[in-house]
């Protein structure tokens, strides 16, 4: 059952991602990107990280993608449909991807097998009792407090910058 869900979500993510880059219509691209993000959220759920899954959906799908669509919807679609979506080097890119794929397959086939499951699972029952949210909170506000604050300042700077760039007169 676990395996089934894992492969299902993976397939969804891969197919959606592929469609996202190949779709000509920008809005369709965005829809497929949403599909990808939902697939990732599904994977989180499958891993037992409900909180992360919920936040993933709220932030990425409900927030960021909605804003994406907000902008894209105003774009003149007729024009974009006429333009080529891939630049001239797409053949080169394809060759690169093919090489990478061969390499991966080779490593999987010839390698010494997948890494052992990490031993952190021993701590899992205790964590489960605490609940996901507490875990995330503990990690975020104790172990990684400084990076967290730095990240938030970074976001603030980015936001101020965007406002300054967009507004002629504040």
């Amino acid at each position: 059952m676990d395996q089934f869900f894992f492969y299902m979500f993976s397939a969804v993510i891969l197919v959606m991602a592929l469609l996202c880059v190949t779709a000509k219509n920008a809005v369709h691209s965005a829809i497929f990107l949403i599909g990808t993000l939902l697939g990732v959220a599904g994977l989180y759920l499958h891993l037992g990280a409900e909180f992360l899954a919920g936040v993933q959906v709220i932030l990425y799908v409900g927030g960021i993608m909605v804003l994406f669509l907000f902008v894209i919807m105003l774009v003149n679609i007729d024009q974009t449909l006429k333009e080529a979506i891939f630049s001239g080097q797409w053949k080169l890119g394809l060759i690169g991807v093919a090489l990478l794929g061969v390499e991966l397959v080779w490593f999987v086939a010839k390698g010494t097998g997948l890494p052992e499951k990490p031993e952190t699972h021993a701590a899992a029952p205790a964590a489960a009792q605490l609940g996901n949210v507490q875990q995330v909170g503990d990690v975020l506000f104790q172990s990684y407090l400084l990076p967290f604050e730095i990240a938030s300042i970074l976001l603030l700077v980015a936001m101020v910058g965007a406002v300054v760039m967009a507004k002629k007169r504040i």
């Binding site: 902008v71 105003l74 774009v75 003149n76 024009q79 974009t80």
Partner: protein, 381 residues
């Protein structure tokens, strides 16, 4: 393709990849809040209005041309159908214009009944305006309260002359119908009830913060602009000009009554709203005085069976609920007018729409259209 479309269609070369600046939308002729078949071509930046143009004529019936092919008496029912929300006022203006050209004066009793009905009609017209205006701004309920009161007025009309909307209540030279039994009582009962109802509307709207936000500072037009555009009626008074034809150029028996002319200061939607609300109260005041003083006597002046006014032309205007309603009648001493030209208040007021909505949002367009109080039957004629 009409002119408006050619004017506001963006140039094809302006269509760049990320052209998200301008949208042209057609508001109307089938838009729910253009009060009929008005079409406004709006040029939008996001939701902000950069320009607008009214396209009218969807309800054109050639009323003025019809007048040239009807006798004076026969044309009377047609004027009801211009501003169908205020048919009685239209009829009053037309009848008085013809009486003026014939040098006939309606008897006093007829004049008093005319004033009562016209002021009732003013209330009915303002109620229709209030209901739809509130509906445009999103208040669903006042419409039904307004229509309930309007219904009472229409019942009075129905009792008096047998029709509710396009009443054909007055005739050249006076009245066709004598008042019915209990006319005064019914009018008085309505007036007493109605003042409480106006307070109720004000509770629902005037104090409401959303209403204030939606109307204050919206669709501002200065007194100078009003005069430049020829705007009349509550829109003009909302901008602070104390101009009311009932006082400025009295007609009928209006000099007999005491009433105030409410005015606003800022010329925004809220002021026009307040002016109309106060006008309803003043109308009640006039009606009460008229009912108290109504004289006995004949209701029809002595006029010939076949009306053939002497050669000449006359302009007579009255204060209709929406503004100055004028009739220019040219007579060539035949049974049919040579030319009738109507100055409809809605049409003239509508011309100021563009300067009132520029820079506002789409939501304000409906508020402003509502506050001008147009009736498309009158705009297009």
């Amino acid at each position: 393709m009409t002119e408006a479309e050619t004017v506001y269609r963006p140039h094809p070369e302006d269509h760049t990849f990320l052209d998200s600046n301008e949208i042209v939308i057609n508001m109307g002729p089938q838009h729910p809040s253009t009060h009929g078949v008005l079409r406004v071509v709006l040029r939008l930046d996001g939701e902000k209005i950069i320009g607008s143009e009214c396209v009218i004529g969807y309800l054109h019936r050639g009323v003025e041309k019809i007048a040239e092919n009807r006798t004076y008496v026969q044309f009377n029912p047609y004027v009801d159908r211009m501003d169908y929300a205020a048919a009685v006022s239209n009829s009053l203006g037309y009848c008085e214009a013809i009486e003026k050209i014939m040098s006939v004066v309606a008897p006093p009793r007829a004049q008093y009944v005319r004033v009562i009905l016209t002021e009732l009609n003013r209330i009915a017209s303002h109620l229709l305006w209030l209901g739809t205006h509130a509906l445009d701004i999103g208040a669903l309920t006042p419409l039904f309260y307004c229509f309930r009161e309007r219904e009472e007025i229409l019942k009075i009309f129905e009792n008096y002359c047998g029709a509710r909307l396009t009443t054909h209540s007055f005739r050249i030279g006076g009245l066709q119908y004598e008042t019915y039994d209990g006319f005064e009582k019914q009018v008085n009962v309505f007036c007493d009830d109605f003042l409480h109802k106006v307070d109720e509307y004000e509770t629902l709207l005037t104090g409401n913060r959303i209403w204030l936000q939606r109307t204050k500072g919206i669709g501002v037009i200065s007194a100078e602009d009003c005069i430049q555009y020829g705007v009349t009626g509550p829109v003009l008074r909302g901008s602070g000009v104390k101009w009311d034809i009932r006082k400025a150029m009295p007609y009928c028996c209006y000099p007999d009554f005491e009433f105030d002319i409410p005015t606003g200061q800022n010329g925004d939607t809220f002021d026009r709203y307040i002016v109309r609300m106060e006008e309803m109260r003043q109308a009640v005041r006039i009606i009460k005085q008229a009912v108290a003083k109504i004289p006995d006597g004949p209701i029809m002046a002595k006029i010939p069976k076949v009306i053939k006014p002497p050669v000449g032309e006359i302009y007579h205007s009255i204060e209709a609920p929406k503004g100055e309603l004028g009739y220019l009648v040219v007579s060539d001493n035949s049974t049919q007018p040579y030319r009738v030209r109507v100055r409809p208040p809605s049409f003239v007021n509508l011309s100021a729409l563009d300067i009132m909505i520029r820079g506002h949002l789409v939501a304000d367009v409906v508020a402003v259209i509502g506050t001008i109080d147009i009736v498309l039957g009158e705009v297009d004629r």
